[in-house]
Subunit: 160 residues, 2 copies
Amino acid sequence: MRMSGGVEWAVHCCVVLTDVERPVPAATLAKLHDVSMTYLAKQMQALARADLVRSVQGKAGGYVLTRSPDDITVLDVVLAIEGPEPQFVCTEIRQRGPLGTPPEDCRTACPVAKAMLKAEAAWRGALKEVSIGDLVREVDRSSGKDALATIRAWFGGDAA
Amino acid sequence: MRMSGGVEWAVHCCVVLTDVERPVPAATLAKLHDVSMTYLAKQMQALARADLVRSVQGKAGGYVLTRSPDDITVLDVVLAIEGPEPQFVCTEIRQRGPLGTPPEDCRTACPVAKAMLKAEAAWRGALKEVSIGDLVREVDRSSGKDALATIRAWFGGDAA
DNA sequence: CCTAACTCGGATATATGTTGTCCGAGTTCA
DNA sequence: TGAACTCGGACAACATATATCCGAGTTAGG
């Protein structure tokens, strides 16, 4: 049940894409984070499909956020990469086998599934509370405002 | 990031193992739920390693809970099957690449990781709030007390 | 005390999903 | 008009989850 490593990449990409002047290519993002360029491209495609980033093609193309970082939650990013399916799926095991509970006694959801889905809801709720904008402010506070400013300048200048 | 299907099996097994008179073999549990006998055996082994159930060998062997169902949380079962590793692992991506944040500016945890781990803590907390005993009472309430009683009688009698 | 049957336990294949890579379609700028 | 640069989806390699088998150990009964 480990979360895809691409989620971490995608969140960091959204953070550094905040307040960029021009679109940033996937190759530049990959070089910045020192990760596989082709695989990160795959993650960015998923973000584009979820309409979190807008892809611009052509010579000066790249990726830009579609809306304010305060309107993009971490949950949005996680679901875009991992898919919207819940982590727990109830197979109605109680109805199977020789002593399976008859359907008429299954009006309410299986207690096991209820507990699992409640926990998952708590998880999603916590992720929904945090926006990309919150993360940007937190990075500014903990690592200094220069950190992100330097990266933006590097985007604009010669991203060797 | 889908949760292992074996978790659902394991939780249901713990529920039906409540208040059994004699040890119940894995084969009987598999037949009850109409699932792969050999694979369920693997899950029961994991529960035994986590000391949630005690395995009894020999002719009249099987599995029994090691303690009161009120003292076994759903989180215990999930961790026993899925492993104790957290679902999100921070790779310190902020320190990598040409503009990596220097270690002296990383005294505090990465904001991205903090958000993820906080959500995971909420998830674990919710799972810890529910015990196997709670699930037993919930099943008795929703499906009638006969449901589990019939299963226990089937264990004691001829589990064909 | 011995035997025999039944149980669990770990080592072993297969299927599915994640990780990583490649080349073609489309767009923009000169 | 052309050429270079971008994204986008199709294509392999790897890891994990799933499913299975056979041997070690134990117990009940004769």
